[in-house]
Amino acid sequence: MPKLMTMALVLLSSTILPGVHTVHGADDSPYLIEKKKFRKSVRTVALAPLDVPDMFTLSAQMHQHLEAEATKALNKTRLKGVGIPVYQEIRTLFVQRVGGLRLDELDQKHRTAVLDHSKREMRLRHPVDAFAEMSLRAVSAAFADDRAEWDGVKRKVKSSGDGFSLFGGKNYQGSIAAASFQLAIYDRSDKLLYLQRGGIDVMQERRADKLVLREDNYLNDPKRLRKAVQMAFKPL
């Protein structure tokens, strides 16, 4: 029976957040090319502004905090960087040129145009070896006994009601949506060279036999955010 419960949990979980990414496990190498080759070919990077998908609510203060931590983390590596403000300046200019961005779907074309043209402009102006793109991602986290583990962190899952414990005691397991900080480094022709994530917090909580999205702001803990950034940059 516990196995069947697991299957049901996976199904329930997948219905809530269909866009969830699969876990980039802690054992996976973050390097998509040989590490030696990466170190030889990537010496300078341009750091792009943090991308926060609409599904997340991140305060301006925490946004700034994440970008500052990322800059700090990059400076601790052997890589020389073109800072976020340089990239941001181009993006801001292009956002103005398309008449500003709104959060509705109609603006998707404008967003794509801004992202594409600003990257091309960065490429033209700055002879860096690579581009580092940071984002918040929803990932799928392994979940057992009210504990979730993913991208180098373990977090307790808030639970209320009987639900699964009625059938399977505390032995149930499955997957749950969680938030991570992701660092992806691309070469000048957009080939992915490096991908690493650091876990932040779970995005769901258990209410009886259902997993529901958390209503509290789980992206408000500066320490957790800093740790996530450090994990993503550490292998560099």
Binding site: M7, A8, L11, L12, Q96, K109, A113, V114, R123
Partner: protein, 397 residues
């Protein structure tokens, strides 16, 4: 999505008991024989629904009609004995793959359409799938070969469906159960059934007047793709059991047929006519390869497309884009510039090519050329999302 009853699931678990009643079915009316087969059909419908919901179904009536013509030619008068209508769907996927659902709908991937060189080769694959259908291999494997068949492996998913049905998430459960069908589709049938479908497929091909030797070439192409190593061999149609053995069997069968008295070679259809018929699939395959950064394969598909549709600017433009995305910094811009120029030669008002001509000229410091191209772009696409940015380029040349 239709509801799958718990009773049907129990029936599926009880199927081995019925194995002795299954007989080889050919040239007979084809409808579900019992509740278990009906359940199998529903699972297949679930898989087909997933393809549609995920946006992978290519809606191209012309292409479907073309495939329908091939199917009818292969089946000949067998069509009179079938209670179900043979249908074709085209799926956006670059794998060289095709499969048949138990109710006679044949799914053909864009990659297969683009990969074959002529109609006879495609007919060889379709004939093979039709044979699986005529011999009800999916059902036969479910009931008679549970231990080895992919369907047998997928029974666990039906248990999931049962649990989820109880918890009220039937649609999702069916979506998962559709994985059962995926399993069958991607893993292939048993060796015995593959050989049976190869033999009958070849017979259908010959009866329809196609050159049988084209089946060998079709298999060779599948094998080359297997060797390409881009995807897991397990996922390829060509990875059904013992592809080498099947190729040898086909060669033997074709040679045997050729030695027969009164043998007449079948038709080898023109490859250009074929490329024109499946041009849409070729373009889609190239575009997918480009998105997935298989630049050589994308360029090859676009070259094939411009040969088939020289009047369409998209093929030339995408050739230019392939070159740009593979080497954005150049140093050689001539190849992409030529491709963009060919695009505007094919259609003088093709705006995207002017934008890229302008971008390439700007990158090389050719101010006048860039200005001219950007101005033309703005006049042709005044509503484009990036007009403000392009105006900025113009102001700062």
């Amino acid at each position: 999505m239709k509801h799958i009853s718990f009773l049907m699931i129990l029936m599926l678990f009880a199927l081995p008991l019925q194995a002795a009643r299954i007989k080889h079915i050919q040239d007979v009316k084809t409808l579900p024989e019992n509740e278990a087969e009906q359940a199998l059909w529903e699972i297949a419908v679930g898989h087909q629904d997933n393809i549609r919901e995920e946006g992978r179904l290519v809606e191209d009536a012309q292409l479907e009609t073309y495939l329908d013509t091939i199917g009818k030619r292969l089946l000949g008068n067998r069509l009179d004995h079938l209670d179900v209508q043979i249908k074709f769907i085209v799926v956006q996927n670059n794998l060289l793959s095709a499969w048949v659902y138990p109710y006679g709908t044949i799914a053909v991937n864009t990659g297969l359409l683009a990969g074959m060189e002529n109609e006879a080769q495609l007919a060889a694959i379709i004939g093979h799938e039709l044979s699986h259908f005529l011999q009800r291999h999916s059902y036969r494997e479910l009931v008679a070969d549970k231990r080895q068949s992919a369907v047998g492996k997928g029974l666990g998913l039906l248990a999931t469906a049962a649990v989820a049905a109880k918890t009220g998430v039937v649609d999702t459960a069916m979506m998962q159960a559709g994985g059962l069908w995926s399993d069958l589709v991607t893993s292939g049938y048993s060796r015995k059934n593959e050989h049976a479908a190869d033999a009958e497929g070849l017979a259908l091909l010959a009866a329809a007047g196609y050159d049988q030797a084209q089946a060998i070439r079709a298999f060779e192409i599948l094998k080359q793709n297997d060797a390409y190593g881009v995807v897991s061999p397990r996922l390829l149609w060509s990875s059904h059991p013992t592809l080498d053995d099947r190729l040898k069997n086909l060669q033997k069968a074709v040679r045997k047929a050729e030695r027969k008295k009164g043998y007449q070679a079948g038709e080898v259809p023109d490859s250009d006519t074929y490329a024109r018929a499946v041009a849409g699939a070729i373009l889609r395959t190239g575009a997918q390869d480009l998105r997935e950064r298989y630049f050589d394969r994308a360029a090859s598909a676009f070259r094939k497309y411009v040969h088939a549709q020289p009047e369409d600017p998209r093929g030339y433009f995408l050739l230019g884009e392939t070159d740009r995305l593979a080497a954005p910094d150049g140093p050689d811009f001539s190849r992409r510039v030529t491709a963009y120029q060919q695009a505007v030669q094919a259609r003088e008002d093709y705006a995207p090519a002017y934008l890229e001509l302008g971008m390439a000229a700007r990158q090389q410091g050719q101010v006048d050329t860039a200005r001219q191209a950007f101005e033309r772009y703005l006049s042709l696409a005044p509503e484009a999302a990036d007009v403000g940015i392009v105006r900025w380029y113009l102001e700062n040349l």
